[in-house]
Amino acid sequence: MGLLAAQPGAFDLFWLPLAATAIGTMILTTRNPRQAKLTAGAIVLIGLGFIALSPLTLPDSPSSAFGQLLLLLVGPLSLVLLALWIKLEDRGDVFGKRFIMSMQMMASLWLVMLWVSQPEFGGTGNYFWELWWSTTLLISALFLFIAANFEQRNASLLYIALGVALIFGFSLIEISAQQAEGFRDSTVEAVAILFGSLLGIGSAIVCWFVIVQRLHPDESEFPLAEQLSDDERRELKAKLAADLDWIAGKGGEVDE
């Protein structure tokens, strides 16, 4: 309570909204009533707003550099999500496929302009922006390397060359030698974070799976099953089947 009673600090203006965003995302991505999802969506937007505004509300906090990253990415991400929405909603005949491609080109150009401008936070380069840039190039290159395995020889070599050019090229064309060295250090860090995360998340998912599998046998027997009449048993099966159909068909409201 002392944290909340004092002048708002990093806990109130950054970490609490981040936790609220995580909880809202959990509710949005799991099966819940529509009202709960709307509320969760609002919580996520408000939380992201607080985090994005943290460079202004908490200019001295190192964590606000992450908020500045989100603020910088609002523009390009909006363009890409708009293009994705048009494609998913199958509105390409209304807007035209060239509109989607132009959105993607503008987002990429915007990112390149940001890279040239070298965003700063607290008088030095924004660490999270540099990490995000390195990670994006790294993941793009890895996607190209993986896709090369599914192509014919000439196309495969082209994919690999493009992936190598993405990482290696940017390490050579940085504006100064110091920035080139910084890009290499940032990319090495991105490799370590990527593989560490994959190992950690994979181990946690295996642990989760083992726990659920070990504990579920205790729930396999329904204690009242033998006391059901034939009609009640049929009605129960019909309700369970309707439930499964709802999941399969991604149906609407959950009956309370």
Binding site: M26, F150, R184
Partner: protein
């Protein structure tokens, strides 16, 4: 990918160009000393975060839909053990990371993982919105 090529072979061929680039950078003088520390820290923190997410989902299902309480309790126990191990391992701080406390290391690593997640989400959105090279106006 032709028949008979395994997942291990796919992973090896996909990572070979990256290993080539990193070996050139090591020859150019780029330091890899902190990479192992960052990998270990990220492994522990991402494990804790994922188990934390799983236990949060389990408690939500337990409280909102009257699901069994044994799974969330077990996940919360694993989460507690994970946090305890992380705190003990990070307690003295890590010189290579230039951070002096367990809380600082965990929070910074959390933001690094979130940065990577934002990057992955951006690329997936870009790839999924792609209309292909032969797009024409209808």
């Amino acid at each position: 990918m032709s028949e008979g090529q395994s997942l291990h072979g796919l992973a090896l061929r996909s990572l070979l160009p990256l290993a080539f680039i990193l070996s050139i950078w090591v020859w150019m003088g780029t330091s890899m000393h902190a990479a192992l520390d960052i990998l270990l820290v990220t492994f522990i923190v991402s494990f804790v975060l994922t188990i934390g997410w799983a236990s949060m989902c389990s408690w939500w299902f337990c409280l909102s839909r009257r699901a069994a309480v044994n799974v969330p309790l077990a996940l919360s126990l694993v989460l507690g053990i994970g946090v305890l191990i992380a705190t003990i391992v990070f307690d003295e701080g890590w010189e290579s990371l230039q951070l002096n406390s367990a809380v600082a290391i965990i929070l910074r690593s959390t933001l690094q993982i979130l940065t990577m997640a934002v990057s992955l989400a951006f690329i997936l959105a870009l790839v999924l919105s792609d209309v292909g090279p032969n797009a024409e106006e209808e």
